[in-house]
Amino acid sequence: MPGKIFSLPESVARFVPDGSSVALGCALEPAIPFAFAHELIRQGRRDLELIGPISDIAFDQLIGAGCVRGVTAAWIGNVSAGLAHAYRRAMEQGVPRRIEVHDHTNFTIAQALLAGALGAPYLPTRTILGSDIARANPTFREATDPFSGDRVLLVPAIAPDVTVIAAQRADADGNTHLWGPWGVSQEAALAAKAVIVLADEIVERAVIASDPNRTIVPGTKVAAVVHEPGACHPSPLQGRYRRDHDFYREYHAATRTAEGQSAWLAEWVTGVPDRAAYLAKLGPRWVALRDYGRPAAEVRY
């Protein structure tokens, strides 16, 4: 059904109104849909609730651009370069605005999304009992396991309005192959009200159906498929391109001040019309990151 193929701007305009809860960066360090985050900034989205485990610098950019009302996450920083300056400014100084944070760990956010995917009200866990995270996040509850009498933490389900998945390939119906770490991507997709897929490549249905174990989310959950090559830079996409470590370092250095943040966004986000222009701006640096890796051993169905 070509009805599910949208341009990136259309997918944001149609499926992500102001105030939406949006899960992205769910594969942790790789396959972060930066192109989608940038389009949210270009369209001036406001009052978003961001959901994701670590987000690397994608959440920081959205926070710095003033798009964000709240964050439900385990970690917000710059994995290879240090702290996230825009997140710091928002929390420490309320610049550009105050945001509300629900602290999680990688395990609790995975459990919250898994509960959402399963349609379960919550999952019980033994992690972070006694920590201040368990106390600071008012959505958690402590309870007694009725089988053993032990203390457990109940992590309530999270069902994002939209989950954004970046992947190597999808068909026009949204049946999507992702390889490399899945992180919490599958739970986040199955838990969501709508899924938007940013596919490096659009393929025939037969390609997906030749290897259905590779599918991370079936088309029946997907609202929009966007053909967006290079959508993840500076994060990597397995078998397509490597991580641009320098880009993270440069972002860290450039965004130490609010003015620097604005200048960075003006250069790399609002100053480029779309992803193709962004990749062209990267130029040979982008070409040098391409890495097609080695083929997987044959499998027959």
């Binding site: 594969a27 942790l28 360090e29 790789p30 485990p53 670590i54 690397d56 385990a74 970690w75 917000i76 920083g77 994995v79 290879s80 702290l83 996230a84 997140y87 710091r88 929390m91 420490e92 944070v101 602290d103 999680h104 760990t105 990688n106 395990f107 609790t108 995975a110 459990q111 866990t125 033994r126 992690t127 972070i128 009992l129 006694g130 920590s131 201040d132 995270i133 600071a136 032990d150 203390r151 457990v152 490399g180 770490p181 899945w182 992180g183 919490v184 991507s185 599958q186 739970e187 994060s235 990597p236 397995q238 078998g239 490597r242 991580r243 470590h245 993270y248 890495d291 890796g293 080695r294």
Partner: protein, 258 residues
Amino acid sequence: MSEGTYFSKAELMVAQAAREIADGERVFVGMRLPLIAFVVAKRTHAPSAVGLFELGIVRDEPSPELLYTMGDTPNVAGAVWCARTIDLMGLLQRGDIDAGFIGGAEIDRHGNLNTTAIGPDRMHPDVQLPGSGGGGDIASLARRLIVIMPHDRRRLREKVDFVTSPGYGNGRGWRERQGLARGGPSVLITTLGVFRFVDGEAVLASFHPGSSVERIRAETGWDLRVAADVRETEPPSAEALRVIREYDPHGFWTRREE
């Protein structure tokens, strides 16, 4: 190794951390120094240790090149399992993981770690830190915890502002009372020395070459306890240094401060 061979603080810490991994163990490997410690252990005394990465990767051989994040493409290619975060966290919660590494911005004498925020009010912090990531989970659920941190008075505090990753709370018996099934810090490796945990409290076991008990006392924010047999930390072996420098040839992680 000949006397006087140069090594950085980070190299010493990596070599010490590598000694904490026994052969055959299943280890939750973080990034930066712990990752390199895992590489050293694998290539020296622990060839059948297995490394687990919380985003969803299991490797029985270290990646062939230096990693900046656990999700770098060379860490995925050649892994034996590429799965979901929750699969790995499930193993951790089951008690299948022998050891985990974490770091932190602050630690107290009972091994409680803060990686969330500095200041009395978490929602209006003086310094906003990145948060738990998987640190709180590893501290809660691994059979034992290896902590690696820079050493100064503002980091080794009598009481941390926020407990992101629970250690021994206020001392012996606290973990059991909270419902934490096992674990807790077994060792704290800093830029100045090595602490072991006795009855839920950090005890200085060794000071690094160039450091001393007195310097460590001055740089520690709690009333220092010192082991009766405190001694100098064993320097890295030539083999460990060779592996470290082969793996991180430009010293990206292991010669940062020099």
